[in-house]
Symmetry: C2
Subunit: 316 residues, 2 copies
């Protein structure tokens, strides 16, 4: 596994939170991007097309929300930002981006959502063909577990907890299960509990796992872990409701893909079931619940508080 610590040691200073979330996201995003650059397989040798497809999708843009949540949650558990424990969370942060990206590649396939555009660029199968896209997704999913297993400076029992956390929340009982119910519900009349099930599993589970994994690396107590889980569950729901709303109100350019596709494919969404204004109200309520959960923490949780607001105020 390539060594990323040297870079991090040079660039981690000055990243303490000063209340400017967009600066914070940019700085953390750059660290995550550099780490991914180092950790993803190089575009050379017999598998260069596969490595290229993996890199194409990972570096197609994206907010790096899940990796940033891993790091921010590790900070809260540890009680401060500038420490080795947080640096050690970087491999795990990258693992979550690999899982997120693989899920997008497979979701976009013709047999699933059949999307041609993602983040304003052709989807992986449009650029590299379907076979390579399927394998690139498989390889990113597999790589995520390599990244966690080969992390230095974190104890094996913590890393094994994270493997359990990630595999459970991204598997049939989490993200993949949510994706299946979402697909099976297309064009069907569905009830609110089914919609909630889809949102909690398809999007929420991985966000919760990212937050819990950061907390585990930071050495969180059972109480801290429980509080951060409550925060994560609320944040994940707010995130997906906002996605539903954005699909309805944003332009194609803002979204980086055709807007209104949920309506077109009769996807189950909050606005479809509750209407737009009620959906916005629910998103705001859930966000307040997320922020309130953090009341037990001090200034070390400021990034997580502001991230919750960011999640419902974003435009893509």
């Amino acid at each position: 596994m390539p060594e990323i610590n040297k870079y991090v040691l040079h660039n981690w200073e000055g990243l303490l939170y000063n209340g400017n979330l967009s600066e914070y996201l940019k700085a953390r995003g750059q660290i995550v991007n550099h780490a991914l650059e180092t950790l993803l397989p190089p575009e050379q040798g017999p598998h260069k097309n596969l490595a290229a497809a993996m890199r194409y999708s990972v570096f197609a843009g994206g907010k790096r929300l899940r990796p940033v949540l891993v790091l921010a949650s590790a900070e809260v558990a540890f009680g401060s930002a500038d420490n080795d424990s947080v640096k050690a969370a970087l491999n795990t942060a990258c693992a979550f981006e690999c899982i997120h990206t693989y899920s997008l590649i497979h979701d976009d396939l013709p047999a699933l959502d059949d999307d041609d555009l993602r983040r304003g660029k052709p989807t992986c199968h449009k650029e590299y063909g379907e076979a390579t896209a399927i394998l690139a997704g498989d390889a990113l999913l597999t790589l995520a577990f390599s990244l966690i297993a080969e992390t230095k400076d974190v104890s094996p029992d913590k890393l094994l907890c994270i493997v359990a956390e990630l595999s459970k929340k991204s598997g049939i009982g989490g993200m993949i299960g949510g994706q299946l119910v979402d697909i099976e519900s297309e064009g069907c009349e569905i009830t609110f509990p089914v919609l909630e099930h889809i949102h909690i599993h398809k999007t929420g589970a991985l966000i919760v796992a990212a937050i819990r994994s950061g907390a585990i690396i930071g050495g969180a107590s059972a109480e801290t872990l429980a509080v951060l889980t409550t925060y994560g569950e609320a944040l994940g729901l707010a995130f997906q409701i906002t996605d539903d709303i954005l699909d309805l109100i944003c332009t194609d350019e803002e979204l980086g893909k055709p807007s209104g596709s949920d309506l077109k494919f009769q996807k189950a969404t909050y606005p479809a079931l509750l209407g737009l204004s009620e959906s916005k109200k629910v998103a705001a309520d859930v966000t307040q619940k997320a922020i309130a959960a953090l009341d037990v923490f001090g200034v070390e949780a400021a990034p997580l508080r502001d991230l919750a607001t960011f999640v419902i105020e974003r435009r893509n």
Copy 2:
């Protein structure tokens, strides 16, 4: 995670090797099948179709070679068969079958090998549709890491080594990478080194990982691990050369899928490059190499010795 130990404690006795490999394979296969039955998600709740697709492919037949290799290798490392260390290897054994099955499901997809039959039954996507088949593969791949992470009675550092072993050997540097080169080579004139690369990675890597993982659970020394790795590499190559040969000489019924498909799709194979009789000779030589590597062991390695012979003498 469901509890499998109770069953194993009742049924593990009397499984010491008596020199009859087909009895041994049958008995070990039954234990593995029962464990898989318990460990795979139940066909109920919102994800029942996905669970059904996973179970359909896992229980479509198959020799359970990789799980049996995990168990047999753990025995060798431990020096005896009837012990808790070997029983503890059962979760990991099942993880390897999950990875093997996911790779078959994705390989069979229309965008890859486009196979309609596998083990004499419709392939997963033919039975459950392409979207569910893609997700069933993803879910089995993900489940494999849950099974390892949630194993009891094995230390976290051993389990983490196995996560690293499995993710590396089944990822871009192993199985998935081999599959990519195989697909990219279809219809091309390829050299012998490229063919060897495909075989070592596409099939060999996972077999090596199974053997090494069993050895790690059994507490193998570095020397034992090196010997078993040599055995595994030779066995994996013998296995794939034999697969190439069987595709050419067996009937559709024996194979459970159309024979001669390698020729039809101009797949890179040993017989295509070396001819049939030279390929048989290479398979026999490599098998002897595998068996010779085991000379440092005593009777505890008898199953591995006989498995090597079985691998080149099988008819499917």
